[in-house]
Symmetry: C2
Subunit: 329 residues, 2 copies
């Protein structure tokens, strides 16, 4: 006791005469970081490189009707089974930048700068994370849009309403273009959400892009190695993709499911944002049976970042097995 007290006193005396030791011992606590790592991740598909780039995530109180054909208690049970908090929902967003080796291709653009401002940076992170990943929006050759929901198209414009990818050709599904640009369809919009979507799409594509888009058909390559695949239900022109290079491929599902812990697990659940829920379910089961049979890697816009993995059967549903993160490319 005496010894340790003497030691402590000696230490205090040393502090008084040694500026170096004083600095080291009295150094201020390092502040907690307030920013997550830049959320981008790269992997190769043959000679091409896929960059999953997070647009952020949005957490909100679980709505009663998120799933049209399941009780809120059942949804909460699925959340808890996945170790997620109940009575809350988090939706993740993961646009892509694909370097085919010749072309730089963006697939979907995130919620855009308005959402970034409104959520204090929770969503609308695509532009910032894309820059962190070393990509210049001016170098993008093509922007491929899967469907016309705000979390996929609003990032096409900057905050001032000008094109975010000024040198890129913007490719849109022909069926999706026809539907959302049709005044008759707009006049028949069933509810405020649909009316809002029509208005917002006119703002993006007519006011912003002056209709300078290239509609594309299913069953053809829209960019080198990027096959457009019909996967309707979520919207009338909803599109998925198969990216192939050599013998390697990945299925880019877009919104065939939303959060995997709810909709991969329960493919029969109808998401309130699916425009034709029965058709969406048919598409979902067809796609997931194919993913299981082919053991094919899948990239999902609404999977948690880095938003890719493999699918196995699990009872009446499926399970997403996230691909292990590789710290080298």
């Amino acid at each position: 006791m005496d010894l340790s007290r003497r030691h402590a006193l000696a230490g205090a005396a040393a502090l008084a005469v040694s500026p170096l030791l004083s600095t080291s011992s009295a150094k201020a606590a390092v502040p907690l970081s307030d920013k997550q790592a830049p959320s981008f991740y790269r992997y190769k598909v043959g000679d091409a490189q896929v960059n999953a780039i997070s647009d952020g995530a949005n957490t909100f109180a679980l709505p009663d009707t998120l799933v049209l054909n399941a009780k809120k208690d059942e949804v909460n049970a699925a959340l808890e089974k996945a170790f997620m908090p109940k009575d809350k929902m988090t939706i993740h967003f993961a646009p892509l930048v694909i370097n085919t080796g010749g072309k730089l291709v963006v697939i979907d653009t995130g919620n855009g700068p308005g959402a970034f401002a409104a959520t204090k940076g929770s969503v609308g992170q695509f532009a910032g994370n894309m820059a962190a990943a070393g990509f210049d929006a001016k170098a993008v050759d093509m922007v491929v849009i899967s469907h016309f929901h705000g979390d996929h198209v609003n990032g096409l414009l900057l905050a001032d309403g000008s094109p975010a990818f000024p040198n890129a050709e913007v490719l849109v599904p022909a069926a999706e273009w026809k539907y959302w640009m049709d005044d008759g369809e707009m006049s028949r919009a069933a509810n405020d959400r649909m009316k809002g979507l029509f208005a917002s799409n006119r703002k993006v594509f007519v006011d912003g892009l002056k209709k300078k888009v290239t509609p594309y058909e299913w069953g053809k390559d829209v960019a080198p190695g990027l096959l457009a695949v019909e996967s309707v239900g979520h919207t009338p022109g909803h599109t998925s993709y198969v990216l192939s290079s050599g013998s390697d491929k990945v299925f880019i599902q877009s919104d065939v499911t939303n959060h995997p812990s709810l909709f991969v697990t329960h493919p029969g659940w109808h998401l309130t944002f699916d425009q034709d829920p029965a058709q969406a379910e048919t598409t979902r089961r067809k796609v997931y049976d194919m993913l299981v049979a082919d053991k094919m890697r899948v990239q999902g816009f609404h999977y948690p970042f880095p938003a890719n993995g493999y699918v196995e059967k699990d009872g009446n549903g499926y399970r997403l097995v996230p691909a292990p993160w590789s710290p080298v490319i």
Copy 2:
């Protein structure tokens, strides 16, 4: 046909007179990125912040004896079930930087600069990723070591043999310290691997750190909120931790399992690197039963980055459910 030919010619003429358009149309392909995203990830545990920081991953041909009590075919079947290539093994490494709000605490240090040089950057990434995460090695207050294997302790030294964390107290499990510093134990080393480990530990702790370490006991906090928990078997002094802040906690398992797709799935499998395989299995089952019962988040040094999740029972084994990546803290 004529029209499109005229259009093409007009385009070529325009190119010749418009430097802006020329630059835009003839722009070179963007080169493929050769570096993965800096692999760090932050999450909060109460008022503390955990930073999982990858040291990289090592891929090698699957040895016949990686699992002592399973045939290579069984191991390959487990790899394929997890959608990993057969006849190969990838081992991931994830040291931590914990900011307790007052102290900056490193847990385990990765394979070190020698491994970085030898693997051309596949492993030994901890120092670089730590810097990318904004941490200065000089600001680290404490380095807590779980056990004395090279992938946990070799990062204690810089390439020149000097301490990598010059202002940090280095805390080591008392039982581990006693074992590896005991000349009698060293003389009884059973094989070349064990002899190499003894030699390498003397180099790190005697030549490098001049034995300036603080041995710690199990059942006590080694840093604010960081409880040291006995979890022997992998080594004689192998230690896990519970980090607590308020009502929130995470179990930091260290090497209770290696890759979850092999050893969480098959807790009865004996890893060749477990010094006392039977004891390691007993510890593993005890820890995983606890994780299931308490629904406790777990951080694993050898889980794929960001190396944390939750555990559920699955048949005779367990399944790791990776925690969803949050793009905000």
